[in-house]
């Protein structure tokens, strides 16, 4: 099944290379969501994540003439997405654009208190936990964060993450080991 998807995506991209705009639309429809969600979790700002995703797909389109199906399409796509996200963070635009977690949480809680739903307490707890998860992910160094997000949400293999982050497989293992160590230390109290 995975092989079929690999071949299908690569085939679509080869058609894009041949000038088929419809194939590009199909690739966009399939991968738009995962790319935007990855960028959103990296940057934690929906508007900026969508702006960066536009840049990612624009780069895919621009490099269609040079595309060679040497790796899985998603690996190549996430390599571009990681590059765009890490550059954005490196250039210092990240802090300016980040949505205020405290503000959002307070607003969210305000809404919960105002509503007369019976599970207000549970929803407040859920909001608080989510804010804590976001804050903890945000505290991870950018490369560790990217590795965790690709591992957890995109279910990418170490070898694929290594290609996406332009590092060795052992470097990926080290990034994930340190990242999950931090996350376990900070989020273990959420058990139960």
């Amino acid at each position: 099944m995975a092989v079929a998807t690999f071949e299908h995506d690569a085939e679509l991209m080869l058609r894009v290379r041949g000038g088929d705009a419809q194939s590009f639309a199909l690739l966009l429809a399939k991968h738009r969501g995962p790319v935007i969600h990855f960028l959103y979790r990296m940057i934690q700002n929906q508007a900026v994540a969508e702006e960066l995703a536009q840049e990612v797909f624009l780069r895919v389109y621009r490099s269609r003439a040079r595309y060679e199906p040497t790796a899985k399409f998603t690996t190549w796509l996430f390599r571009i997405a990681s590059h765009v996200a890490l550059n954005h963070i490196r250039d210092g635009k990240y802090e300016r654009n980040q949505e205020s977690l405290d503000q959002e949480t307070d607003e969210g809680m305000g809404r919960q208190v105002a509503s007369s739903a019976p599970n207000v307490e549970q929803r407040m707890l859920r909001e608080a936990r989510l804010a804590e998860v976001r804050r903890t992910i945000e505290l991870l160094p950018a490369k560790q964060r990217a590795a965790v997000l690709m591992h957890k949400y995109q279910e990418m293999e170490y070898a694929q993450i290594a290609v996406a982050l332009e590092c060795s497989e052992s470097a990926v293992k080290s990034l994930l080991f340190r990242a999950y160590e931090t996350l376990r230390a900070k989020l273990a109290h959420m058990a139960g």
Binding site: L28, E50, Q54, F57, L187
Partner: protein
């Protein structure tokens, strides 16, 4: 995991990757059973697995916002704009991407022009220095001429003087 059967603890061996794969559900069925047997008897590994599963569940609870309805339209509009752009604009964009972040063309262009002039200045011969050299050559020629004239005058004087014997008589 061949060593779990021998009661070798993945944590003691530093093989957290195995436990991580187990928590992520990416282990083969046969190995899952082996890890489960070990976790059942090893409190350290059990605690590690429980903590990792907590992290996993916490991350799963992180939902994302829906994508804007006009995302595709905005992207295709950008692509259309890009296709319309002239070659010069594309070249300028490419250079802008290569330049360090924040460097303005209004600064880069004059700086480049000054650097170019300096290079040209060094490459081309200085006209003032050339004139100076010409003057020096002229001066040297004039000096030689004067010296030659002085020698000719001396020769003439020597010819006008009476021979040595005549003077003696």
């Amino acid at each position: 995991m061949k060593n779990t059967k021998d009661n070798a603890c993945p944590l003691q061996k530093g093989d957290t990757e195995l436990l991580l794969r187990y928590c992520a559900g990416s282990l083969a069925a046969g190995r899952v059973a082996e890890v489960e047997r070990h976790v059942g008897v090893c409190p350290e590994c059990r605690s590690w697995v429980e903590q990792q599963q907590t992290v996993w569940q916490a991350l799963e609870a992180w939902e994302v916002e829906p994508v804007s309805a006009d995302f595709d339209a905005a992207l295709f509009a950008r692509i259309a704009r890009e296709e319309k752009r002239s070659g010069w604009q594309r070249w300028r964009e490419a250079w802008r991407r290569l330049l360090p972040g924040g460097l303005d063309w209004r600064v880069a262009a004059p700086a480049g022009a000054v650097a170019l002039l300096l290079v040209l200045g060094l490459a081309v011969e200085n006209p003032f220095r050339r004139e100076q050299a010409k003057a020096m050559v002229k001066l040297e020629a004039r000096e030689i001429e004067q010296a030659e004239r002085a020698l000719e005058d001396l020769e003439m004087l020597r010819q006008l003087e009476p021979p040595e014997e005549e003077t003696r008589l």
